[in-house]
Symmetry: C3
Subunit: 276 residues, 3 copies
Amino acid sequence: MITDQIGRIRIAKPIVFNITNYVTVNDCANILLAIGASPIMADDEKEMEEIVSICRGVVINIGTLNQRTLRSMILAGKKANQLGIPVVFDPVGNGASRLRTEAVNLLLKEVRFAVIRGNVSEIRMACTGKGGTKGVDAGHADATSVENLVAMAQRFSAATGGGIAITGERDVVSSAEKSYVIANGHEKMGRITGAGCMLTALIGSFCAAGGAELENVAAAVGAMGLAGEMAAGICRGTGSFKTGLMDAISNMDDDRLREGIKIEKFKGSAETLCSH
Amino acid sequence: MITDQIGRIRIAKPIVFNITNYVTVNDCANILLAIGASPIMADDEKEMEEIVSICRGVVINIGTLNQRTLRSMILAGKKANQLGIPVVFDPVGNGASRLRTEAVNLLLKEVRFAVIRGNVSEIRMACTGKGGTKGVDAGHADATSVENLVAMAQRFSAATGGGIAITGERDVVSSAEKSYVIANGHEKMGRITGAGCMLTALIGSFCAAGGAELENVAAAVGAMGLAGEMAAGICRGTGSFKTGLMDAISNMDDDRLREGIKIEKFKGSAETLCSH
Amino acid sequence: MITDQIGRIRIAKPIVFNITNYVTVNDCANILLAIGASPIMADDEKEMEEIVSICRGVVINIGTLNQRTLRSMILAGKKANQLGIPVVFDPVGNGASRLRTEAVNLLLKEVRFAVIRGNVSEIRMACTGKGGTKGVDAGHADATSVENLVAMAQRFSAATGGGIAITGERDVVSSAEKSYVIANGHEKMGRITGAGCMLTALIGSFCAAGGAELENVAAAVGAMGLAGEMAAGICRGTGSFKTGLMDAISNMDDDRLREGIKIEKFKGSAETLCSH
């Protein structure tokens, strides 16, 4: 499962281009540098196509979406599709407003995403058009069984053609037919902002260096969760937890990840919950 | 004075919606999570009303004001007023430019604020229309007596109908008739950016969970100051001070706050300095 | 060389106004506070001239450039030129897109910069119009000899009339005739975002308090590199490295800088590589 995913990033130092929100953008840049990638953040539509053409991966995150940057996201996504560069999507807060739901639908229509990562509320809304979200955090009603998560992810993957990562207490990484369940992570990750955004950026770097295969996406998800466990063991609160998380990613390597990742292939039967 | 203010936040996990600046937005989100609230940050006018309707408190901060987000602030504030959701206001840099002074006046006219927090320069400018500011930090000429601060706060509260928090070496939290003086805090809080913005966000979470009564606002001010004292005791510079401040807020509880808060009801006679 | 550069900042507490990117803006504000300056961040064109008029230094950084803020940068730069306030420029990502290259050319035409700081890719592009950039980090092809760097810096300084700082493994600080080479720093500075932006802001504070003479700019460059060395000695990864860097700047003083700075006047012959 874990071969040389992180090693490849450290050797290739791929440029990962992020059109993202201004809340966690600094953390996203720092986690990309910590894992060994080279981040660019930009959002003016005039430079989208040129910047895409010098990068190896694109991350689109609608955290602080506005109408100006939505146009930039579409331009960048389309250009990346033309060039065969993987595009990773984080539909932050999907369901919290019509602006977001419509933006997600438009992006899903205009751009082919290699991977989409969100919490269960965000993915359910994207997948079924139903739901609503408790802000940008997963709602309480979202304590869904792993079987349901897998069913939702597989359906959504079949509809979009890309990998789906639904993260929460258990993480599910899925194609239309195959799913992994990852049990790394720590509840403290929900006590800082940006754990989700940083993971999406991290997935961007894994895809940029090693392609968007399911195992590569799962490795990124496992690395983030494992870093959270390592940071939780030494922190004195949420401030030092965040510092420790960044330290752990910067010290992560394939050996540690191989030893620490708690992953299994989903073997149960996925319930059918989600119809597009 | 301190009963279960923090406990209520940890149980209610209220969504606090912030239209704020891009300098300290990450710190504001993290301090809201540290105290137990659930932050949303957004600014596109198209989604203001929907997001307000899922939240329990709204924080408006004009730190990096622009003409687009000013419209969003007004929309969000008006909607929150309609729904009875408390709105907390931070007039950052009021007095530094006509854009800011006019924005503050417009916001004060259009929105009913439950609490307004600023340094003495910002509040004096809002209250009297006179002053000017040494940037976003309080000017030296602002070494005002507690009596004067109380007078200014009481007048401004009478004019706006909301609570007023003037923070500096001594903090004053005031309604039109009643004032508290809080002596917590540490000079290192002036050596990091965002101590004021984070406090305003924190007040937003206290109001969201427990209402905008003066004692609840004072508890938030005390918690921030106490966290600053705790962080100052263990830091090695301004970087680790900021980390320690976040740790301290994440570990704060009502017992610690009750023991550590240095608060007294103002009993002197408030001089009359400030006429609107 | 090092006399009382940092002491002057701590006494004068100069206001440094930054029109900068939303990725590293928080770090820039914090490093300005750490060294003893007073930061303002704003970008709406309506308030540019008023804010410039209350500050002692202006920093312009095009990291997340957009068409709206470009107008603000020009307004602020021109006003600062009128008032004799030093303007420091960071052409982040110059060469990565036509938008950036054109913005740099326009800013160089409209504004007189006291100092321009960039990596070798960014400066080469500004100086020769040739190059291109590996994103916002210096490209591999940019492992240029010190002689070449000095030649480029001297030519560019002659063309712009201001000081030039090219930072990388070795830093060159140069006027048209005189150059210093600084050997402080640590490779970990390339593993966090914002080391360059923070240095540019820091140069802004040194110029604001002590003028834009070459020795003052070199002191800022040395202080940043020395802080990086101090942080590298005690960090556990890139997260705590960043915290340690901020701590080190907040604890820096002229004595430590005098002892730790590795600087020499360039005495070789500068090759002629760069023609405007």
